[in-house]
Symmetry: C2
């Protein structure tokens, strides 16, 4: 940043104020123009002109008069439109595909999913199957009067900075896959992002409110153990987009060697494969026996619920090791809360005792541990919401209703 700091023009100001109005309604609920003006600190006049633009663009809708009981003329209630733009989110998991659509109000308006063995697959056919699902969801919401404003795809891997390419997805066996030229291109310019990141953003946007009140470390386990650092309402991505690799934080000085090149990585003790091995199962075999998102976790959870001592011991150990890694992360980040998402949310009942014990022992006062309520849906919902968020952030550019 030698020079050229961000430009601050009048259009910029207008754009931000339009976004401010939308977020005032999104965060604070439906309200009259005057109430919105109070919330964002502009005058009623200014808000009126902003609202006019947003009504014309189909982002806001008037929802009748709001009789509050107090004296004075009642205001016309403004709400985010449920027939305006919507976001399409897709997910490419190792053994399933899913698509959903959410409207500006955050409601899921359509969804579709199929099992699909994507590990070591060719991108073409997988994307073709996904495109079918997208078409299905697209048609459904279009029939409901919504206009898809974009498509974001959650992938278990690294994504290029412009979000157009999947740079590397080890568990799929993909390298350098261009989404914009494949079968997905038909609907909207498709964009990709990492599934763990989208899961964390979902937590920030529609999950536990604690994520909105301060910095948070969001831990999720799907195949590996990932995490995401939410600071100041944004995601810390790091230099190459690799930030959050909690699974490779060392928890034993001279422990098991790991595929990452290190040794004693958390993943060797608390990862899915390690848990399966610890209860005497072959990881590859277990995946074949229990395909689908979260299936192994559900299986382990089931055995834990039945009181299986091997599983309970394995989960206890994993919680302890997770506690060591999170002790380090907490000292480094001083987060407002630790959020367990994905498979960890499912297994939380049996991880939490040893995890909280270890954190308490080492930290004295540990940040509150929160279990996500989004579960395995996080990445998919995050993808769809990323699209609607982009519309809210820059209403007139992306949000204009088709003529």
């Amino acid at each position: 940043m030698t020079t050229t700091r961000r430009l601050h023009t009048q259009q910029d100001m207008r754009r931000r104020n339009l976004a401010a109005v939308l977020y005032a309604v999104a965060d604070g609920g439906p309200a009259s123009r005057a109430r919105v003006a109070d919330r964002i600190g502009l005058t009623r006049t200014a808000v009126s002109t902003l609202v006019d633009d947003l009504l014309a663009a189909g982002l806001l809708a008037e929802a009748g008069l709001g009789h509050s009981g107090a004296p004075g003329r009642p205001g016309t209630v403004l709400a985010l439109s449920d027939r305006g733009p919507c976001g399409l989110g897709a997910e490419i998991g190792v053994d399933h595909l899913a698509v959903c659509a959410v409207d500006l109000r955050g409601r899921v308006r359509a969804r579709a999913a199929v099992d699909s063995a994507n590990r070591g697959s060719q991108p073409g056919p997988v994307l073709a199957r996904l495109a079918e699902l997208v078409t299905h969801v697209h048609d459904e919401v279009t029939a409901a009067g919504l206009h898809p404003a974009g498509l974001r795809v959650a992938v278990p891997g690294l994504v290029s900075r412009d979000r157009a390419h999947v740079v590397q997805a080890p568990n799929l066996g993909w390298r350098d896959v261009d989404l914009t030229t494949g079968p997905l291109a038909a609907h909207a310019p498709p964009t990709a992002d990492n599934e763990a990141n989208l899961g964390a953003l979902a937590e920030l946007w529609i999950g536990d409110p604690v994520c909105r009140t301060g910095d948070v470390l969001h831990i999720s386990a799907e195949i590996g153990i990932g995490s995401a650092i939410l600071t100041d309402g944004r995601l810390l991505r790091g230099n190459r987009g690799f930030a959050g690799e909690l699974g490779h934080v060392p928890v034993r000085r001279r422990g098991e060697p790991c595929a990452c090149g290190g040794r004693g990585c958390l993943e060797q003790y608390a990862g899915e494969a390690a848990l399966l091995r610890a209860v005497g199962l072959d990881p590859a075999r277990a995946v074949a026996d229990h395909p689908g998102p979260g299936a192994r976790s559900a299986y382990l959870g089931g055995r834990a619920r039945d009181g299986d001592p091997d599983v309970l011991r394995a989960l206890r150990g994993a919680g302890t090791d997770l506690g060591i890694a999170l002790t380090g992360a907490t000292h480094l980040l001083d987060p407002h809360a630790l959020v367990l998402g994905g498979a960890l949310a499912v297994l939380a009942p049996w991880l939490l005792p040893s995890l909280t014990a270890e954190l308490g022992r080492r930290l004295g006062t540990a940040p509150p541990l929160v279990v996500s309520r989004l579960g395995a849906d996080g990445p998919l919902l995050g993808a769809a919401h990323a699209v609607t968020r982009a519309v809210l952030d820059d209403p007139l550019r992306t949000g204009a209703a088709p003529a």
Copy 2:
């Protein structure tokens, strides 16, 4: 943030554009109005009016005509004023006090320091001694035509959110000290910040350029081992302001118990006290023998330079343990670079071999390791620059020259 997003009014836009002009000159060097306009993307007309305000406020100064050799009328060169506002920075160390003043151009215009045994001291007398130094520096820069715009104090401890109080400074033995009512109050509303944070910000603002190109983890050791996470040009402070406690990241699963309540903390193996013990010295005794900022590090560095095998072995071990902690931090943050500051910069020649070896072993490709060139001056300079930065960020509010 239920409601009330940031307000975007015309005054805001103006303020940012004023700041953009100043930063264009600060980062890109002196330049004509037309050149500044090119840099920040505004028109020459707009820049002219902005510059008029900044000249009137005494923040910019015209420095004659710039004959470039190219055809065309030469522009009048604009530079940051060296007689305008300046920043006062102060530092309360465990065994010294220091004050300096920097002008808008970043030059140190005055400084003063004294040794002072502040460990376990009463705040009153210490602040009184510091106030004397401040007065001295203040008078010196005032004589040079500068106007101190504020005073920031670097303290080895935790500071309240409004920067008015020292909440806790264990190494000084201070709790809840209000700076605004003490002897410092005479000069300007004094504000405090943590010394490690200010050291990292100094690195960001005037240190290695790598800190300005991406996220960076800045590691410093004064008494403990601290660090600071610089992301997106800002400092990640965490929930309570405790972020960056690298010294208490566990590096041994069942290691030495630590005063923090944990065990196996990095500080037990790579901290100053641990190093001194490892070479057979009593830490308290060593502090008495070698008072002053960085004195123990300098002493150890001296013995290392002489080839003392005990010291070399201790530093080698510290480098390895630091490498383990930084492996975890790197996986978590994926920083653009790791910067060694403070005492670590002094000892870097003997820490680096084992540190880089450990990082290379565990990470494959580690982020570049950079040794700070600011050394022990970082926090003090950061404090002074924090004041001038605040002036640049909001020129007309804080920067107006006294009438």
